[in-house]
Amino acid sequence: MNTLLEKLCSLLCALALFAIMTLTFFDVGGRKLMSRSITGSLELTELLMVVVIFASLPLVSRRGEHVVFDSLDSIWPAWFLRLQGVLVNLLCGCLMLGLMWLMWKTGVQFTETGETTAQLHILKAPFIYGMSVLCGVTGLVHLAQIVRPPQALQEGEGAAL
């Protein structure tokens, strides 16, 4: 994954997450203290969540942070681990490309119905196309790792527990 793409994804997810935090803070504060909420804050949060999740997905794959059962790693010989790496990345890559196709199809359906959010009337289709594209990028990251395994396999599980 080239650095430009990595930077772009990082920027997108950081901005979206910061926006969710700020939005929730002012929305909740306004509602509890002044009985005034921000119009459409719920649906903005929903749209921003899509950005946070799917823009950071390629980063997670790039860094090998998906939760894997690796307790057996020490017993396998190096050639087996290498082969395993190739097959796993091939499978993940194909799956994510499949998901790209599926979400694109969904996006087309949303374009046809022209579905928008309830209050602010923002079209949903572009966000679903975005999901699709970022799933595709994630798939390509996995396929690229067949040739070039990630430098550091850092599991993300630690951060979550």
């Binding site: 990082s10 997810c13 950081a14 979206a16 997450l17 910061f18 969710i20 935090m21 939005l23 929730t24 803070f25 929305d27 909740v28 504060g29 719920l42 949060t45 929903e46 749209l47 969540m49 899509v50 946070v52 999740i53 799917f54 823009a55 950071s56 997905l57 980063l59 997670v60 860094r63 942070e65 998906h66 939760v67 894997v68 059962f69 690796d70 307790s71 057996l72 790693d73 395993q84 790496g85 097959l87 796993v88 499978l91 993940c92 799956l95 998901l99 599926l102 979400m103 199809k105 969904t106 949903k124 966000f127 999901m131 599991e155 993300g156 599980e157 630690g158 951060a159 979550a160 527990l161």
Partner: protein
């Protein structure tokens, strides 16, 4: 029934071959629905799960709590917490170890991660303990075990995950964790007293602080204490939903870190991206778990299991005890998030069918995860400390954690025997 069992077997097989858990569950779920219902419904339901999980307001609770914990970790607050705890209980034998547990409990009230709590404490508490001549195995044992309080004392990432997967009320789960978390901390302190009385040389008492010093130490932590009271008190009192509380807490922690001058633009960016990555990792799991759950619900498995359990005529509590034993054994060799995600679809319907409270079972799950995190040979907290403290061998860390594994197993037993410990506080909620 058969197809579901095959599905579970396939997930295990794929996971053993190092296929990421999310991909294993997703692909098996998809294949399963295709088998039961056909290709079109399988694709349609999968697209719907991805879409609905992505566009879900309530799920923003996950990144917001993660963000809150990461901000507080960055704010360097652990030092003040440790100082304050030490000022009050440092003059007991093993005072630094007691203070570490207390500081972990305090830190756990704002951070939902065990690993982060242990890692933060290793920077603050270990140097002091080393200076006073504490043995490495005692000090690392205390930090590893104390760190796990981070996931029992709310907020807690694993509770949020459990709540979402099982559709259990997150606010109630949080409330249910308070007393077990504090009781575990108290039991750990009792354990420390016993250990240090057997080997007093390695755990000297500190000097007694004056009340003036104590008040001064408290001044360093009032800001964060206020944040805890607002966020958790607000959720508990029904003023906030968990999502609103998380948003408020994350913003509060952000201002807190900012006010302490610990946040540059670069570190803010790092915290945000790091939290987003953890979020994405968890969401792939949530999406895959829902796809798989859809498949399970299409089959006769849930009904069959209920019938089978009733047919066996086992006493309900024996079933739960058996589950806990399985968890403790699995926890020694498996990483805990994997363990929970793989077993919940199987165990949870049984627990419900037997008429148990899902909130109570959630607390039990957190407790077995706590135990798993510090039980060798595969315990994430132990590995984290090993990585952060190059001077201490893994063997020493393993030796130090055993007493605490025993203490926590005892606590688990109490939680199983007396559900009231977990359920009393949530029962008072509206």
């Amino acid at each position: 029934m058969i197809e579901t069992l095959l599905g579970f077997a396939a997930i295990f097989a794929l996971a053993l071959l190092r296929v990421p858990l999310a991909m294993s569950m997703g692909v098996v779920g998809l294949a399963g629905i295709t088998y039961v219902r056909g290709w079109e419904p399988a694709l349609a339901s999968t697209a719907q799960v991805v879409y609905e999980t992505g566009f879900a307001y309530t799920l923003s609770v996950i990144p917001l709590f993660i963000l809150m914990g990461n901000f507080v970790a960055r704010a360097g607050l652990a030092h003040e917490l440790f100082q304050a705890a030490y000022a009050f209980i440092g003059h007991f034998r093993g005072g630094l170890a007691h203070a570490t547990v207390a500081a972990c409990a305090g830190f756990g009230a704002i951070c939902g991660s065990s690993i982060a709590t242990a890692a933060t404490m290793s920077k603050v508490a270990y140097p002091s303990m080393k200076k006073l001549g504490y043995s490495d195995s005692l000090s690392t044992g205390v930090m590893a075990a104390g760190g796990t309080l981070g996931i029992m004392i709310p907020p807690s990432t694993i509770m949020v995950i459990y709540g979402i997967i099982t559709e259990t009320h997150i606010g109630k789960l949080f409330a249910a964790g308070v007393i077990p978390g504090l009781a575990t901390a108290a039991l750990m302190m009792v354990g420390i007293s016993v250990i240090t009385s057997l080997d007093p040389e390695h755990a000297p008492a500190g000097k007694r602080s004056t009340w003036a010093e104590r008040w001064k130490a408290l001044r360093g932590i009032w800001g964060v204490a206020l944040l805890v009271v607002i966020v958790l008190g607000g959720i508990y009192g029904g003023i906030f939903t968990a999502t609103e509380g998380a948003g408020f807490g994350a913003a509060g922690a952000f201002f807190f870190a900012l006010a302490r001058g610990r946040l540059t633009l670069t570190s803010l960016y790092e915290v945000l991206v790091e939290s987003a990555r953890t979020t994405a990792m968890l969401f792939t799991l949530l999406i895959a778990a829902s796809v798989f759950a859809n498949f399970v619900n299409f089959t006769t498995m849930p009904m069959d299991l209920k019938e089978w359990i009733t047919h066996l005529g086992l006493s309900p509590s024996m079933v739960v005890v058996a589950m806990m034993v399985i968890y403790i054994v699995l926890g020694t060799v498996m990483e805990e998030l994997t363990m929970v995600l793989l077993t919940i679809p199987l165990f949870f319907p049984i627990v419900l069918a037997l008429g148990f409270d899902p909130v109570w079972f959630g607390v039990l799950i957190v407790m077995v995860v706590q135990i798993g995190l510090i039980s060798p040979p595969v315990g994430m907290n132990l590995f984290v400390l090993n990585a952060l403290l190059p001077g201490v061998s893994l063997g020493q860390i393993f030796r130090g954690c055993w007493p605490f594994v025993a203490i926590m197993a005892f606590m688990l037993m109490l939680l199983v025997m007396f559900p009231g410990i977990s359920l009393w506080l949530p029962s008072l909620m509206k």
